[in-house]
Symmetry: C2
Subunit: 310 residues, 2 copies
Amino acid sequence: MLPVVVVHGGAGHIPKERSDLSTSGVCSAVRSAYAVLQGGGSSMDAVVEAAMLLENNPSFNAGCGSVLNLKGEVEMDALVMDGKTLSSGAVSAVRNIANPVQLARLVMDKTSHACLTAEGASQFARSMGVPEVPQESLITEYSRMRWKKNLAPDANPVECQMGKMGTVGAVAVDTDGNVACATSTGGMLNKMEGRVGDTPCIGSGGYADNMSGAVSTTGHGEAIMKVTLARHILFHMEQGQSAEAASDLGLAHMKSRVGGLGGVVTVDPQGNWAARFSSRQMAWAAAQKGTLHYGLYTGEHFTQIIEDAH
Amino acid sequence: MLPVVVVHGGAGHIPKERSDLSTSGVCSAVRSAYAVLQGGGSSMDAVVEAAMLLENNPSFNAGCGSVLNLKGEVEMDALVMDGKTLSSGAVSAVRNIANPVQLARLVMDKTSHACLTAEGASQFARSMGVPEVPQESLITEYSRMRWKKNLAPDANPVECQMGKMGTVGAVAVDTDGNVACATSTGGMLNKMEGRVGDTPCIGSGGYADNMSGAVSTTGHGEAIMKVTLARHILFHMEQGQSAEAASDLGLAHMKSRVGGLGGVVTVDPQGNWAARFSSRQMAWAAAQKGTLHYGLYTGEHFTQIIEDAH
């Protein structure tokens, strides 16, 4: 059953003309992350690889392609967590870097802290030699068009957010049975400057514990925080629920209690996995035992043999 | 049993010469918060009142009296959560305001977001008419002395942190049975600029849910985040544990799993409450049925009749 990696490209409604790009993006990211695991890499290496590729892909709301805040600027959040030690690293409202998930990992690996925010995160990035990139390199025509549209007085950014690919994320188990998660996002469309959502918040945007499993979440951030969705799902798994049943229980609880929609990817330490969502769509992909799995709509589950790269 | 309010002034080791100030500070804060509840105020009104008074008291690491970051500056975090709606508000790494907990409440009440950070939080404060205060007004001689001491190459800020009053917080249940929590802190001694700890992180620094109860935490922030301590304790209460047993289970889990010490104040919606800690001391106080309860060392529990202010 091991290794395994599962990724998502955000929960929401994906316009037809963008759905192929979303599917190919998550499939490509999961293949690379799986190759990392097959090459002996750790689950942390694999989830960071997947999230980086999705950050670099302009079709997703993370890194290049991030949504813009009210001022038309890019501020990004990211989180990683290591299920063996429960160590985590996060950045919030960080600017001018290509890969927030890498910086989150550096916070975990190189500091005694678990989260750095805003200018403090930028200073740390500089001290680690992370290259600064111009903001323009992170902004796509599509995200600028949507930002302008949502400045209109009758706009509904939350509604509109659900019409766009969201947050990206990944969970994995390596051959040693260690679990990890990573989540990265540009946040919510036309958010206030300095808004921090669920993504960098441990237990909400993600959680990983070798005793139970790992989860990465996507959807309406404020709703995810209200129910600490990732931690909630893992509590169900600690009570004996499967990855799939626990994910569905967590999403159903979020819908009934606070009216929020979203999606998750979940693994347990044995390699059982789930990609579940209450939104209309979620681009997801998984790789296990030489097989690629992927889907976009509820109930969709395609498979493909992964040809050996060697 | 209702109303009830419980406050803490931080877990750690409190030097003897400061212990009277700590005890009188938490007792005074809990009396004012209890008067709010008796006057028909909500649990949210009461926890914000208590946290504000502790922020204004230079004996505690929150608001005036906050510890300093590596650069000798004050950056503060705060969180409030409403157990009826699961709405929350937080600020992280905010500067130049006297009462971060009030700003956290404004984030909850006046925005569609749950957290604002750094300069974005300051902009929001200005837009709400919150007065800016000079940084010097938040810095005490004691905190500056400790900052200098910890710049020495052989200093151990984590160890030293445990020798100082930490984070402040409160939980309450009002006569309608609504629970709420508030937590506020200057963070960790000699932290990096932009470091965000457990306090503003929902589920770690606090959590409130009318279905189970409310918790406010204090201690080593990074350890608290690893186990999402507040949410962890409430999961135990959902499983039928009492406020006291669940608090002890959460603290024991944090100690055994990640070696972290801390303390919590906890209530359930019926008004059962607990003030528990694994650190050497925690200044705490509670008010219920016209009686003030307070203590500082493990096992200490003094009581006093609260004279009617009317």
